[in-house]
C-alpha cells in the first residue's frame, strides 16, 4: 500500500532543509541561497550588471539602435592623448579630493576635540555642526550659491559690513576661486559627520591610559600627539579613505553650484562623464564609459596606496 503523499507545505520544508543536516544549528545551503536570492538578484541587477556593462561599453562604440562596434582601447587612447577637458577634470578632482579630505578629517577631529574638552555650549554646538550632514547636496548647493552671490550673497554682505569691500568677489564666477568655494561648501556639509565619528572614538578611549598620561605630567599637546591620535588612527584612516572615495566621485554639489564652470575650473571627472553621456548629442556611451572605467582604476589605485601607506604596523597596546 502506497504511502500518502506529503502535503505541499511539508514538501517545501523538506526541500529547504535538504537531505541531510549534519548540524541542526546550521541551515542547509539551499535555505541560505533561497533567503539570499532576492537581495542577490537586486544586487546583481542594479550593481554587478551596470558595472560589467560599463566595462563592456568602454571598449565599444555604441551606434544607433544599440549596434556595438568593438574598438579595443581606442576610447582610452583618445581620452589620455587628446582630451584636454578630461585632464582638467582630473586636476580639479585631485585638488578637490586631497584638500577636501585632509580638511574634512582634520577639521572634524579639531571640532571633536573641542567638544571632548567640554567647551561651553558643547551640546548646542554638536547639534549645529552636525545639522548640515542631514541636508541633501541639492539644498546645500542652492543655499551656498545664494551665500556666494555677488549682489545679495551673505559672504559679500559681511565683507561689506566689515569695511572689506575690496575683497567682495564673484566667488563662483571666477575660475581662481570657484573650486575653492565648492571645497568650502563641501567641508561645511561633512565636517559634522567627521566630528561625530571622531567624538565617538574619543569617548571610547580607555580612561586608564589618559589618566596615566596625566599622572605622568603629560601636557595636552603631547597627550594629543603621542596618545590620542595614535589610538584614533584606525578611525582616522577609515574616515580618510571614505572621504577620499566620496570626493573622487563628486558630482551633485558641483553640478548644482557651477555645472563644471566657469571655463571648466570646477569640472570634475564625474560631471564630465555625465556631460559626455547626456549633453553631447550622442547615444554613444562607449567614450563616457571609458572615462568611468579609467577613473575607477585610478580610484582603486589611490585607495590601495593610501591604505598601504596608512596601515598600522605597530598596534598600540594598552
Amino acid at each position: 500500500m502506497a504511502e500518502p503523499a506529503a502535503p505541499p507545505r511539508t514538501r517545501i520544508v523538506a526541500w529547504l532543509m535538504g537531505d541531510s543536516v549534519a548540524d541542526s544549528r546550521q541551515a542547509p545551503a539551499r535555505t541560505i541561497l533561497l533567503f539570499l536570492a532576492p537581495a542577490l538578484l537586486v544586487y546583481a541587477g542594479f550593481t554587478i550588471y551596470p558595472v560589467l556593462r560599463t566595462f563592456y561599453n568602454s571598449v565599444h562604440t555604441i551606434g544607433p539602435h544599440n549596434v556595438q562596434t568593438f574598438v579595443g582601447l581606442d576610447n582610452f587612447v583618445a581620452l589620455v592623448t587628446q582630451d584636454r577637458v578630461f585632464w582638467k577634470a582630473v586636476a580639479n578632482t585631485t585638488i578637490f579630493t586631497v584638500v577636501g579630505t585632509v580638511a574634512d578629517v582634520l577639521g572634524g577631529l579639531l571640532l571633536a576635540l573641542c567638544l571632548f574638552a567640554k567647551v561651553p555650549l558643547a551640546r548646542a554646538m554638536r547639534v549645529i555642526w552636525f545639522t548640515p550632514v542631514l541636508m541633501s547636496y541639492v539644498i546645500v548647493g542652492i543655499i551656498w550659491v545664494w551665500l556666494y552671490d555677488y549682489d545679495w550673497g551673505l559672504v559679500n554682505l559681511v565683507l561689506g559690513w566689515l569695511g572689506l569691500e575690496s575683497l567682495q568677489h564673484s566667488w563662483l564666477g571666477d575660475p581662481a576661486t570657484a573650486l575653492w568655494a565648492v571645497v568650502v561648501t563641501h567641508l561645511w556639509k561633512w565636517l559634522g559627520f567627521n566630528m561625530i565619528i571622531c567624538l565617538a572614538a574619543l569617548h571610547a578611549l580607555p580612561e586608564e591610559v589618559l589618566g596615566a598620561a596625566e599622572l605622568d605630567n603629560c601636557g595636552w599637546f603631547a597627550k594629543l600627539v603621542y596618545i590620542i591620535i595614535p589610538m584614533l588612527r584606525p578611525t582616522l584612516v577609515n574616515l580618510l579613505v571614505l572621504s577620499f572615495i566620496g570626493k573622487m566621485m563628486m558630482f551633485d554639489l558641483v553640478w548644482i553650484m557651477t555645472a563644471g564652470g566657469p571655463l571648466w575650473s570646477t569640472e570634475t571627472v564625474s560631471t564630465y562623464v555625465y556631460k559626455r553621456a547626456f549633453n553631447w548629442n550622442t547615444f554613444d556611451l562607449g567614450y563616457p564609459s571609458a572615462i568611468a572605467v579609467l577613473w575607477f582604476f585610478m580610484i582603486l589605485l589611490f585607495v590601495t596606496l593610501m591604505t598601504r601607506l596608512l596601515r598600522q604596523r605597530d598596534r598600540v597596546e594598552f
Binding site: 555604441i62 551606434g63 544607433p64 539602435h65 544599440n66 577637458v85 550659491v145 556666494y148 552671490d149 555677488y150 549682489d151 545679495w152 550673497g153 564673484s170 563662483l172 564666477g173 571666477d174 575660475p175 555645472a259 564652470g261 566657469p262 571655463l263 571648466w264 556631460k275 553621456a277 547626456f278 549633453n279 553631447w280 548629442n281 550622442t282 547615444f283
Partner: protein, 429 residues
C-alpha cells in the same frame, strides 16, 4: 455558501485585474503615452492636456497619459529608455537633438502628420535628408527687451527703426552704468545659452546668414577679422559693465526677476519665450501688470552684412518613437496639438509665437499690445533659423557654452583667448 461565493468573486476579480482588465476596460482600449518637458509652465501643460482630452473625445477607447518632466530629467530618461526598446509613443524634442534621428529612434512624420497647419519654415527646421522628423509647436525669436521708463529717464530716445548703432548702444550701456543701474540683466547660472545672446546676434548681423551659418558649422574661422571685430566690440560692452556682477551664477528665472523686479535693469536679451515667466501673476514671479515693457532690435553692426537679420528658432516639438505600436494614433495626437484653435489659444495664453498656423490676425487678452509690438519688430526681418546651441555639436557645443556663453561675456577672457579657444573647439578648416 456565502463564504464560498465571496471567494469565487474575489478570484474572478483578481483574475481580471491580473489580465489588466478593469471592470470598464474594453478589448480595443489603447493608452497613448506621452513624455513632455515644461512641467513648470502651466499654460503649456493646460494646452497639451487639452489636446489629449480632445483626442480622447474624438477617439473613444483611447487614453492619453502625459508624464511631465523637466528637460534634463526627460533627456536622461529618454537616453536610457529608447536604447532599451522602451519609451513613450510620443515625446518632447527640440531641433538640436538630431542624435535621435541619426540613431533611428524617431520616425519621419511626412506621411503621418497633417502638415497643412504648420508653417513651412518651421517644418524645414525639422527637415533632414528630405524628411521631417519632429512636429514643431513653439516658435520664438531672439529679442532685446527693455524698460521704456528707464530708457526715458536716461534721456535716450529709441530710434524710429528701434535699432541703435554700435556706438550708440555702447554709449547707452555706459550711461546706464554711470546712473548706477545694470545695463543688461543676464545670467548663465543654469542655462548654456543666454550669455551669448548679444554676441551671437551681433555676429549674425555682421556676417549675414550665410557666413554666420558657416561660422557655426566650423567652415569659417573665429579669427576672421569681422568675427574678431564683433568680439572686440562685445568686450568693450563687458568692460563697460554691461552685465551684472553675478552674471555667472544668476539663473534664468532670477534674471527675469532681476530685469523687471529687483534690482531692475535697462535691457534684457531673451527669446520671446520671455512671456512664459514674465506674464504670470507677480506673486508667482511675474512682472507687474503696469511694467513698461518694450522690445527693441539688437544693435546694427558697423558694416553689417545683414542688420535686419534676427534669429528665429523652433523650441518645443514632438516626435514619435520608432518603436511605438501606435504610430498612427500618436500622429493623431500631434494633429490634435496643431489645430488652429490650439494655435490661437497658445498665442492668447502663452503670448509666444507658434509654428501652428492660427488663421487669426487679431488677438485678445491683457497682453495683446505686447504681442502687437513683438510683431512690429518682425516686420522686414530676415531670419536665420536656429540658435547656436541648437546647431553646435559635441566639443564645439561645450566650448560655446564655456566661452561664448559664460567666460567671455563674464569678463574672464580676452578677445584673443576667446577666438582661439572657439577655433580649437569648432573650426574644421
Amino acid at each position: 455558501m456565502m463564504k464560498h461565493f465571496m471567494k469565487m468573486q474575489f478570484a474572478v476579480t483578481a483574475l481580471l485585474l491580473a489580465l489588466g482588465a478593469g471592470p470598464t476596460a474594453r478589448a480595443d482600449d489603447v493608452t497613448l503615452t506621452v513624455w513632455s518637458h515644461e512641467a513648470d509652465e502651466p499654460a503649456k501643460v493646460a494646452l497639451r492636456e487639452k489636446a489629449a482630452r480632445n483626442l480622447e473625445a474624438s477617439h473613444p477607447g483611447v487614453h492619453v497619459k502625459i508624464t511631465w518632466y523637466e528637460k534634463d530629467g526627460l533627456s536622461a530618461a529618454l537616453k536610457t529608455a529608447l536604447p532599451a526598446g522602451q519609451g513613450p509613443d510620443v515625446f518632447y524634442l527640440e531641433p538640436d537633438q538630431t542624435d535621435y534621428i541619426a540613431s533611428g529612434y524617431i520616425v519621419p512624420l511626412d506621411k503621418l502628420v497633417d502638415w497643412n497647419n504648420i508653417y513651412d519654415w518651421a517644418r524645414q527646421v525639422w527637415t533632414h535628408d528630405g524628411k521631417a522628423w519632429g512636429m514643431p509647436q513653439e516658435a520664438y525669436t531672439v529679442e532685446l527687451y527693455y524698460n521704456k521708463d528707464t530708457l526715458a529717464k536716461l534721456g535716450v530716445a529709441l530710434p524710429a527703426n528701434a535699432q541703435f548703432t554700435q556706438s550708440e548702444f555702447l554709449d547707452l550701456v555706459k550711461k546706464a552704468r554711470a546712473a548706477g543701474m545694470t545695463p543688461i540683466a543676464q545670467g548663465v547660472g543654469d542655462r548654456p545659452y543666454p550669455g551669448a545672446y548679444v554676441l551671437a546676434e551681433s555676429l549674425l548681423r555682421k556676417l549675414g546668414t550665410d557666413d554666420y551659418g558657416k561660422l557655426l558649422n566650423g567652415q569659417l574661422s573665429f579669427e576672421d577679422p569681422r568675427v574678431v571685430a564683433v568680439f572686440t566690440w562685445v568686450k568693450e560692452l563687458v568692460d563697460a559693465g554691461a552685465y551684472p556682477k553675478n552674471f555667472m551664477t544668476l539663473k534664468l528665472g532670477e534674471s527675469h526677476h532681476y530685469f523687471y523686479q529687483k534690482p531692475g535693469s535697462l535691457m534684457f536679451p531673451m527669446g520671446s519665450f520671455y512671456t512664459g515667466r514674465a506674464f504670470v501673476p507677480v506673486d508667482q514671479g511675474g512682472q507687474a501688470p503696469d511694467f513698461p515693457l518694450g522690445v527693441m532690435q539688437f544693435p546694427a553692426m558697423d558694416g553689417g552684412a545683414c542688420n535686419e537679420c534676427k534669429t528665429i528658432a523652433v523650441g518645443a516639438s514632438f516626435a514619435i518613437n520608432a518603436a511605438s505600436k501606435h504610430q498612427d494614433l500618436a500622429a493623431e495626437y500631434l494633429n490634435a496639438l496643431s489645430t488652429p484653435e490650439i494655435g490661437k489659444q497658445w498665442i492668447e495664453t502663452i503670448y509666444l509665437q507658434t509654428a501652428v498656423k492660427t488663421g487669426a490676425s487679431e488677438f485678445s487678452g491683457p497682453y495683446a499690445g505686447y504681442f502687437k509690438e513683438l510683431m512690429q519688430r518682425q516686420e522686414g526681418a530676415k531670419y536665420f533659423t536656429g540658435m547656436p546651441i541648437d546647431i553646435l555639436q559635441g566639443q564645439c557645443k561645450d566650448t560655446f557654452v564655456q566661452v561664448m556663453n559664460a567666460g567671455f561675456p563674464g569678463g574672464l577672457m580676452s578677445v584673443d583667448e576667446a577666438v582661439k579657444t572657439m577655433n580649437q573647439g569648432c573650426f574644421k578648416g
